[in-house]
């Protein structure tokens, strides 16, 4: 295995692992605060129990996210020293702001988790709100870095590869930033809402009279119903943004080989790279033109309009894109069903078929999340900074990177299994016995 491939895979594994905990760190505090708020309003014990349970879950996920995030901040230098050499000054500002937001989140979480008996109730609630807000802020700042990699701005490239005339404001507010940030924040809320909904629906199927799980569904389902369709809108905006700024990525995502006017939207299908043709796909006439430019007659540039060496790995990007859109569509359908049931004031706890659907939909948000990041990152290849620096030129000269790649796989797999087991015990435990405090 080449060093470049090992480094890319290690980065993929690290990011793919971290992102799950990062979105939990963004969205779980909101759930925790919503439950706490309901408790303050109603004084019903199940909301307090729920707030404490979600807080425990947040604590575990946040802590693992904190260490995997620490690893990533170092890995940027360990794996991509030449990227950091050039990009460090430009992405340093959003990373610094992210550092402060994360710091604030860690402090507020300490107060929230351990301070219930020590600080006034209002301060305790406020600390939970600060956790939720700073979690989102740190997510937005990190996305600003990624948006800069996709649409780099705020510098002048010198012939020797160095950057000059740095403009930090332009480097922060890049063209991709607003759409990517909106798409990411909404992704965090939607994927965690559906995952949590799935877990509590699973328990409700076993224990239909549990007030705790019913309360959980009452809090989470509205969040899922609101975020699932909004996510389609932010995704549409992100697609229109791609059409202008990263047309190769869009063409790869849609496996559009030939420039077409109008261009059809392809559903499914396996790209055949030799024949430059997609097999088994369903074409929706003018769909892509409409999606990319809001005009059914618009021309969409295909892969063949760009040099072959600038293409990403088309099958991976296309399949990941299909997976993301497919999962998102299923989630919207489940959300619509839930909204319909809520409007008709049905008792959800007894609606077996809907609960089963929620359980099945539970992991799909997270699958869509991983697939979406695959589209973003693999779709940008062969560039680490779009149009500026090739990934192969950024990799460390360190030999035997395959060793550290394998080691990181083992470590992350081990941590993943342990976290999953711990969370499963929390989920499967019945709510009656008192908790053992550490």
């Amino acid at each position: 295995m080449s060093s470049l491939l090992a480094a890319r895979l290690q980065m993929a594994v690290s990011l793919g692992f971290h992102i799950l905990f990062a979105v939990a760190g963004m969205a779980m505090p909101l759930l925790m605060v919503l439950a706490e708020w309901r408790y303050v309003r109603t004084r019903r014990a199940e909301y307090r129990a729920l707030a404490e349970r979600w807080a425990k879950g947040t604590a575990i996920l946040f802590a693992v996210g904190a260490v995997s995030g620490t690893v990533l901040s170092f890995e940027l230098g360990l794996l991509w020293p030449r990227f950091m050499l050039h990009a460090g000054p430009l992405i340093g500002m959003p990373f610094s702001l992210e550092g402060f937001a994360f710091f604030l989140e860690a402090i507020a979480l300490g107060v929230y988790l351990y301070g219930r008996e020590r600080v006034p109730a209002r301060v305790h609630f406020a600390s939970g709100a600060v956790v939720a807000l700073s979690g989102v802020a740190s997510g937005v700042f990190v996305v600003a870095v990624n948006a800069w990699m996709n649409t780099p701005r705020g510098f002048r490239l010198l012939p020797n590869g160095d950057f000059a005339d740095i403009d930090l404001t332009r480097a922060f507010f890049t063209p991709a930033f607003p759409t990517q940030a909106a798409h990411m924040v909404c992704a965090a809320y939607a994927s965690i809402a559906f995952a949590v909904l799935g877990i509590h629906a699973f328990r409700l199927l076993r224990r239909p009279h549990s007030s705790l799980h019913a309360a959980a569904v009452r809090i989470v389902l509205p969040l899922a119903i609101v975020t699932a369709p909004i996510q389609a809108l932010t995704g549409d905006a992100a697609g229109k943004q791609l059409a202008v700024y990263q047309p190769v990525k869009l063409a790869a995502a849609e496996a559009l080989f030939e420039t077409s006017r109008p261009a059809p939207l392809l559903v499914g299908g396996l790209p055949d790279m030799k024949a430059r043709h997609v097999r088994f796909g369903i074409e929706i006439p003018s769909g892509l033109s409409l999606m990319a430019f809001g005009d059914p007659h618009a021309e969409v540039r295909g892969l063949e309009a760009f040099p072959r060496e600038d293409w990403p790995h088309v099958p991976i990007v296309h399949l990941a894109f299909q997976a993301m859109v497919g999962c998102g569509t299923v989630l919207i359908l489940v959300a619509a069903w839930g909204a319909w049931l809520l409007l008709r004031k049905k008792s959800l706890a007894e609606h077996k078929r809907f609960l089963v659907a929620c359980v099945l939909a539970g992991p799909l948000g997270l699958v869509a999340l991983e697939a979406g990041w695959t589209v973003t990152e693999v779709g940008r290849q062969p560039w680490i900074i779009q149009g500026v620096l090739h990934t192969r030129d950024a990799v460390t000269p360190m030999p035997h990177l395959v060793v550290s790649f394998v080691a990181s796989c083992v470590v992350y797999a081990f941590l993943g299994v342990v976290v999953a087991l711990l969370l499963a015990r929390y989920v499967l435990r019945d709510e009656e016995p008192p908790e053992t405090q550490p």
Binding site: G77, Y114, L415
Partner: protein, 338 residues
């Protein structure tokens, strides 16, 4: 990017130094506490371990953000230094990360796992050992940048991946860091507990202070051979002896305070001692990140970036420091840990 270092670069260099000091005093003590838990023994073994966990529970995550803070300021302000460190000291940094990952994970798995006593004891041991790995590895990084063996040209690192950190000196620095961190933890815990438990930690602290003193001398002697330029800077300037004298005074004061059971005072003098060790080392680097090739003069980022970074750090601190003070006030004030 070469030329005379600006005042902004100097300020950021000091900010990084300050970040390292605070990391040592908080995150370092926290690592030291993990190490102490390995050595807890006697009739109050369980109480000792419990005191360690209770002391770090609300603050450990915040304590470790200081390291990220240092890294981010480093790569934003001095990207060339960060890139060179990532290459030349790839391996010890990777080991430090491994320690950080297992320590953090073992801590939460122990604290939040609903599991058997055996499994919890297992996580507790992982937590302790992982707490030892990180200071050793970070000590090797410190030794590496100080050694003069890591060479960096315009094309990048030229001295390979083993230079500077695979020496007896590197091991000595790691052990010295370990002893200082454990000393901080023992002194803090002695001040935060009472009765026989406090006395246990006080005795740990006394032993560790003696050990730290011996390791300091040992490291200093090894430096002459394995980090010659650093050693010269440590010995030959007008300012070094006052600082080293002050470090020794702080160490003796810590010993005296511990002997007299003035644990609150010992907390101050031990923190001062560790601060002076780091400041003394930082001054002996004389504006370098990696001796002798990477310095403030040639690693600083674009002149337009540095002031903005200083402003961001200052503004962030205005928001952060009150919050941090509040966190420590809640959990560490008199009677707060009860």
């Amino acid at each position: 990017m070469t030329g005379a270092p600006t005042i902004w670069a100097g300020v950021l260099y000091a900010v990084i130094g300050l970040g390292l000091v605070v990391y040592a005093l908080t995150g370092g003590a926290d690592l030291g506490a993990g190490l102490l838990s390995l050595f807890s023994r006697g009739p109050r073994k369980e109480e000792q371990e419990h005191a360690v966990r209770r002391a770090i529970a609300p603050i450990w995550e915040a304590n470790h953000v200081w390291l990220i803070f240092v890294i981010v300021v480093l790569f934003s302000g001095f990207p060339r230094a960060f890139a060179a460190l990532g290459v030349a000291l790839h391996l010890p940094i990777a080991f430090a990360l491994l320690g950080i990952v297992f320590r953090g994970a073992a801590y939460v798995f122990h604290a939040y796992g609903i599991q058997t006593a055996e499994a919890r004891a297992g996580w507790s041991r992982v937590f302790g050992w992982a707490s030892a790995v990180t200071p050793l590895a970070l000590g090797a990084v410190v030794a590496g940048v100080s050694s003069g063996d890591v060479r960096v040209s315009d094309a990048g690192v030229t001295s390979g991946f083993l230079a500077g950190w695979t020496t007896p000196f590197a091991l000595a620095v790691g052990l010295f860091a370990l002893a200082l961190f454990a000393l901080l933890a023992a002194v803090y815990l002695a001040a935060e507990t009472d009765g026989a438990l406090s006395d246990d930690f006080r005795r740990f602290a006394l032993a560790l202070e003696v050990l730290a003193g011996a390791l300091a001398l040992f490291t200093f002697l090894l430096a002459a051979r394995y980090a010659p330029e650093l050693s010269r800077n440590l010995r030959a300037s007008g300012w070094t002896w006052p600082i080293q004298g002050a470090t020794a005074v702080a160490a003796v004061a810590t010993l005296a305070a511990l002997a007299k059971r003035a644990t609150k005072l010992a907390r101050v003098t031990a923190a001062l001692q560790v601060t002076l060790v780091i400041v003394g080392w930082g001054l002996a680097l004389r504006g370098h990140f990696i001796l002798p090739d990477v310095s403030l003069a040639n690693a600083a980022s674009h002149p337009e970036v540095l002031p903005a970074l200083v402003v961001a750090v200052a503004a962030g601190s205005l928001l952060l420091l009150p919050a941090l003070a509040y966190l420590f006030w809640i959990f560490k004030r008199e009677g707060g840990a009860k």
